[in-house]
């Protein structure tokens, strides 16, 4: 079985990320997996509007903008999915009556967009210094029509797939058997066995994504530490 981009079925696309490239945002990150690219800018904790503030915790607001066209119902759905994923991981009670605003902008999309958006958000929140219980990493896999399961599918593969699954896990991912995933999105026709297989593959993939994100953050922190000491 060969994939259009000659990857092996369990291989992720080459990832790339950069942190803190936006000036106005308190924290920002860009997460790229070849032709899928997402920028995320986080503001917070900032003053919340009176009508939306919560007395005991910070409000999390997510805005997702697609690369082409104005916002659609699907974008709203992604917004709410990301909000509910991160709401539980942000230590919101440490900043009562404030707002954490997460802005996500899709730069280009070639499949596995929601997992890229979750990864970018995770990085941007860390960059902004928002207190988190743990980092979140996500991965997508697709079951193709010939029952082959591929990790990190491109849009072409998703269009041809029988079902597509996205999972997000808290750190450490290996604990996911006890904790379970933070976010699951499964679409299409699939059997329970296929689902379990996809779950296992995504655990491995998410672990690798998390390791990559950690190195990126470590790289940035060491760079900054060097500047401070000299």
């Amino acid at each position: 079985m060969t994939r259009p981009d000659n990857r092996e079925a369990s291989h992720l696309r080459a990832m790339h990320c950069s942190l803190g490239q936006l000036n106005r945002a308190d924290g920002s990150a860009q997460f790229t997996a070849q032709n899928t690219s997402v920028v995320c800018g986080v503001f917070g904790p900032v003053e919340a509007k009176v009508y939306e503030e919560k007395l005991d915790r910070a409000v999390v607001e997510v805005k997702f903008r697609s690369d082409i066209g104005s916002s659609t119902t699907k974008d709203k759905w992604v917004e709410s999915a990301i909000r509910s994923t991160f709401e539980r991981e942000i230590l919101a009670h440490q900043h009562p009556r404030t707002l954490v605003q997460i802005n996500i902008q899709l730069r280009e999309s070639d499949g596995s967009v929601d997992s890229a958006a979750i990864n970018a958000t995770s990085l941007a929140l860390v960059d902004a210094g928002i207190p988190l219980k743990s980092m979140i990493s996500a991965a997508t896999c697709a079951v193709l029509s010939d029952d082959v399961v591929v990790v990190d599918p491109t849009q072409e593969e998703i269009d041809a797939a029988r079902s597509v699954h996205t999972f997000a896990f808290a750190n450490p991912v290996s604990d996911s058997n006890k904790q379970g995933p933070l976010y699951v999105d499964s679409r299409g026709n699939f059997t329970m066995d296929e689902y379990n297989h996809c779950y296992d593959l995504c655990v491995l993939a998410a672990e690798r994504v998390l390791a990559f994100m950690r190195t990126a953050i470590e790289g940035k922190v060491t760079k900054e530490a060097k500047i401070n000491t000299t």
Binding site: L22, R24, V39, G41, F43, V46, I68, Q101, R107, E108
Partner: protein, 276 residues
């Protein structure tokens, strides 16, 4: 809440005092652009422009639609600019201020009404099928002078874009897949580029090119001139602010002419880099 808080009096006074001595707060000369970085691709029609702390992303896409009944042989050009809360906290398209509307309008007018894109070349079958070209401009970071950055991003994205090739056989139009046949670039007549000036002082006697956010907040008037590489003026915009003398406009035009050539060269380099 939400509204932009302007600079403090001390900051504003410092900026003006420095300007009187011919110095800008960020150390630039008064006719200098900030560092301009343009990157195109890898997807066709994607351009990101970084002008100092300002960052703008432009995305061009196309689809086949029916033409407007009164213009059966012309393709459609759609423009979408949204000042999102990403660019700065509190900026939001739902309660856009007049300034934000002005920015979107200006960029749209520059591209669409100067007829930079050859609309007739977008026709596939007269009255039946035409290409709709859509330009989405996303503002990622607001560091001042969004107009210039947006116009550069839009032009770079349009020039970088490739649409699928089409062959017409009688009444049938065949749209070739990108892998089947090389996609073709859009036919673009000219490349209008905006150059913005900010004026300071009670009589507007001090001017700077490419104002930063701080300078934009202090300026008493702004003036945008749009030129293409053929040294033609495509649009002028001076909405409100204090009155300016014709001499000042003349001077701005001379400066802008030189700057537009520089910007066009940069776009050319970025396009070349993306294909290499």
């Amino acid at each position: 809440m939400g509204a932009e808080i302007g600079p403090s009096n001390i900051e504003a006074a410092f900026l003006l005092e420095a300007l009187k001595k011919g110095t800008r707060v960020d150390g630039r000369g008064i006719y200098d652009y900030r560092t301009l970085k343009i990157s195109c691709g890898p997807t066709y029609g994607l351009a990101e422009v970084q002008l100092g702390q300002t960052r703008v992303l432009a995305r061009v896409s196309c689809e086949v639609t029916r033409p407007f009944p009164d213009r059966p042989t012309e393709g459609i050009v759609l423009f979408n600019t949204e000042l999102s809360s990403m660019a700065g906290f509190g900026l939001d398209s739902s309660r856009s201020s007049t300034q934000e509307v002005a920015i979107s309008r200006m960029v749209e007018r520059v591209i669409k009404q100067s007829r930079a894109i050859d609309a007739e070349a977008l026709c596939i079958l007269a009255g039946e099928k035409v290409w709709t070209v859509r330009i989405d401009v996303h503002f990622l970071d607001h560091g001042g002078n969004l107009i210039d950055a947006a116009s550069i991003a839009a032009i770079a994205a349009l020039r970088h874009f490739r649409r699928p090739d089409v062959t017409v056989d009688g009444e049938e139009a065949i749209i070739h897949d990108v892998r089947e046949r090389n996609p073709v670039p859009l036919s673009i007549h000219h490349t209008p580029i905006c150059v913005t000036f900010g004026f300071f002082g009670s009589a507007g006697d001090m001017l700077v090119l490419d104002p930063t956010l701080l300078e934009e907040q202090v300026q008493v008037s702004s003036f945008t001139i749009t030129l293409n590489s053929h040294r033609e003026i495509c649009a002028l915009n001076k909405a409100g602010g204090i009155p300016l003398s014709p001499d000042q406009i003349q001077r701005c035009t001379q400066v802008a002419l030189a700057k537009v050539d520089e910007v066009n060269e940069k776009i050319q380099l970025a396009l070349k880099a993306s294909t290499a």
